[in-house]
Amino acid sequence: MSMELRTSPHQISDRSVERIMKHVVLSLLPVCGFSIWQYGLSALALLLTVTATCLATERLLNRAASQPSTLNDWSATITGVLLALTLPPAFPLWMAVVAGFVAIAIGKALFGGLGFNVFNPALIGRAFVQAAFPVAITTWVPAFSAQRFSEFVPTTLTAPLMMPPDIVEWIKLQAVDAFTGATPLARWKFENVVASSYDLLTGVVTASAGETSAILILLCGAYLAARKFMDWRIPVAVLASAALTAWMFQLYDPTHYPAPSFVLLSGGLMLGAVYMATDMATSPVTPLGVWIYGAVIGVVTVMIRYFGGLTEGVMYAILLGNALTPFIDLYTQPRVFGTRQQGKKK
């Protein structure tokens, strides 16, 4: 009889990389669904294209490196879905393919794959296309247009390597009330118009595919945190520090700076705090480290929004946080049991 030999512990939990990642993907489905409901075919095509590109790139590079397939760890799927959700809904598909390829190839595979990447791959992909296609990535379309389930936005189907057509006329044809073509953040920055919290919460505003409904993102994140597939401390730290920073600015000059609620609910802060900053491989592991990391992201986001040339700062704030992660980990090592101050004697 052959005996099974193994070293302890013999009993292990049912946690696994696949399981964690699969739940992240599942929790993103409602957000995807909402985005498709808002923007129709274009949003659906964008999601599918980016995700398929990420998976194909991952598989291709596996093969190039003679490694077994890593598609079944679901991490490339997460990258694809998250990346798609950060892009404008009518983003030209060929540009989306570029974003997906860069996210996986440069954001992840170049570093050695899952666990070795320094930066959030989805944000690397987005940062690349933001630099490469500055017009396309700030071209917004109205939500809930009448023909959204029957026809694509013209920009979506831009021929490869071509610049997208001008869609001002097309938007006029949609006859959606008071569409300005600008995100709430841009409207605040350039026109000093603050969107209502209700609109921001429910997502009836102009934004990237997945940046719209704060409530939905919070609910999905709460599910992940409750199942312990996500560290709740990071979004709490990001949102708290952003709110605190915004509140201090508002105290200083209430006429110029908006309320903390606007800062929290507008733009990609919710999606970034809940789904991007919490990427395990690129966030700190130490209990104190995650708070510092979250706080840095929150403050930097507000600073970029208020003082930078861009309307949105979440992406660069998180990438900066990613870059600081090894450093934060190094200086926040937990204090080992038995080296702490003796507790009160009972």
Partner: protein, 446 residues
């Protein structure tokens, strides 16, 4: 008054909640038949091996000393059954080593009553006499540590013990023998505690029991002496609640300074089984010839708690409890810190707290896919020693063993297995740490 909402069981920080599988906890202790042959190793404790004092062909009585203690940090060995010495020589032990052992052929017709005893009046004995008597019982730490009981209870004159902690946590999944001992041998336990308090000079004792054993807590509470020197405290059911560091912290809020023994903060920790046997054997003047252990797992038909003679081969033990042919993974001890064995021809020793049997893949997937560390940080959230297993694992992969010890406190790790338990990448962290420690030890001694 304790408000139920605010009052929670005492506990430590971090740790895990594995599936406990404590089904055998409700089954009374039963006696198991004697095996035709018993293999009794001379070294079942930490310290110098005992010296054999019988010869081949000699008839021995159950309870008779067959090997004497060699110095202070050593224990005698008693014949676990009446029979004849068949062989003296090396035999395989559970850890895979060959060790000096006495093989007994058991007289099947014998009643197997303990034949050799010298009842004592323990009230009249002083500390020194008690210590000598404790050594003569041959009791080592029965929780699995196998440190000689009398050595542990010998408190140096410059050390003051203010509290004895009695460890009834039994936090390892599947094991319930301590639980049954607390329920069925409560008086032995209290008597053992009395003796240990007298010997060590501890003025008070706290018995810590995980709150998944309310019947044990109730049984002990009913048997507590009226003077209030002994108390029982419920502990949260959480692994590794029964480790020395964690149970002291849970009950007293004190941390053992890194690298020191509990005595440095005035605490002594003993396992319930050790004290229960002490309380039973010392007044009777007998040696330890058997112990209660848990046999469990899906691989056996009749799981339960059994009184098993020391030296019983595992093959015989498993036959008695109806081991299934599919049971190919046998664990001695608990599933978190126990070890698998490669052969069934090894004996039960004083430190064997459990024998668990599993079929292939019943406890965990046979070869879970190992991923790179995704830095989820879960291991840091469960490590009861507040180490950074994630970083230690990354360093181990690069074989930077010296750095692991110098910067990341590798030596504080006691291999409880919490980090490996939660690791979603299935990195064999504990095993990597064992290798690192072994390499560091070798370098230090070279």
């Amino acid at each position: 008054m304790r408000l139920p909402f605010f009052h929670r069981a005492a506990t430590f920080e971090h740790g895990i909640h594995p599936d406990y599988h404590k089904e055998t906890g409700s089954l009374p202790i039963k006696r198991l038949a004697f095996a035709p042959r018993l293999i009794v190793p001379l070294s079942q404790h930490i310290g110098k091996p005992a010296v054999c004092c019988v010869s081949v062909g000699e008839e021995v009585l159950r309870g008779q000393v067959i090997a004497t203690a060699d110095g202070f940090v050593s224990l005698p060995v008693h014949a676990p059954a009446t029979g004849v010495v068949e062989a003296i020589g090396v035999m395989p032990a559970a850890n895979g080593k060959m060790v000096d052992s006495i093989t007994l052929r058991v007289y099947e017709a014998d009643s197997q009553q303990v034949q050799v005893s010298a009842p004592r009046d323990i009230e009249a004995m002083d500390k020194k006499e008690l210590l000598a008597a404790i050594q003569s019982t041959g009791i080592s730490g029965l929780g699995g540590a196998t440190f000689p009981a009398h050595v542990k209870l010998s408190v140096p004159p410059d050390v003051v013990i203010d509290t004895m902690v009695v460890n009834g946590a039994e936090c390892e999944p599947f094991l319930t023998c301590d639980h049954r001992i607390m329920v069925e041998r409560t008086k032995d336990l209290i008597r053992g505690i009395r003796i240990a308090m007298k010997v060590s000079g501890a003025p008070r004792t706290i018995i810590g029991v995980e709150d998944n054993k309310p019947d044990a807590i109730a049984a002990i509470r009913a048997a507590l002496p009226a003077d209030g020197t002994i108390t029982v405290q419920a502990l949260e059911t959480k692994y590794p609640q029964g480790a020395e560091d964690t149970i002291i912290y849970a009950l007293l809020g004190r941390e053992i300074p890194a690298g020191q023994r509990p005595a440095s903060i005035g605490v002594l920790v003993n396992n319930v089984m050790t004290l229960a046997y002490l309380g039973r054997l010392l007044p009777a003047g007998e040696g330890i010839v058997e112990r209660v252990l848990t046999v469990a797992g899906p691989g056996v038909e009749k799981p339960g708690n059994y009184i098993v003679p020391i030296g019983t081969p595992l093959r015989f033990l498993l036959e008695q409890v109806g081991a299934k042919s599919s049971a190919q993974e046998i664990i001695l001890g608990g599933p978190m810190m126990g070890m698998t064995i490669s052969s069934l021809d090894v004996p039960v020793t004083k430190g064997t707290s459990g024998v668990l049997a599993f079929g292939k893949g019943e406890l965990q997937e046979e070869t879970p896919r190992v991923y790179a560390c995704i830095k989820c940080g879960e291991c840091l959230k469960v490590c009861p020693k507040f180490l950074n297993p994630s970083q230690l694992g990354l360093l181990a992969a690069k074989r930077e063993y010296a750095e692991m010890a110098e910067r990341y406190n590798l030596d504080r790790c006691f291999e409880c297995g919490c980090c490996s338990y939660v690791c979603p990448s299935h990195i064999p962290l504990v095993q990597q740490f064992r290798i690192a420690k072994a390499v560091n030890r070798e370098k230090a001694s070279a």
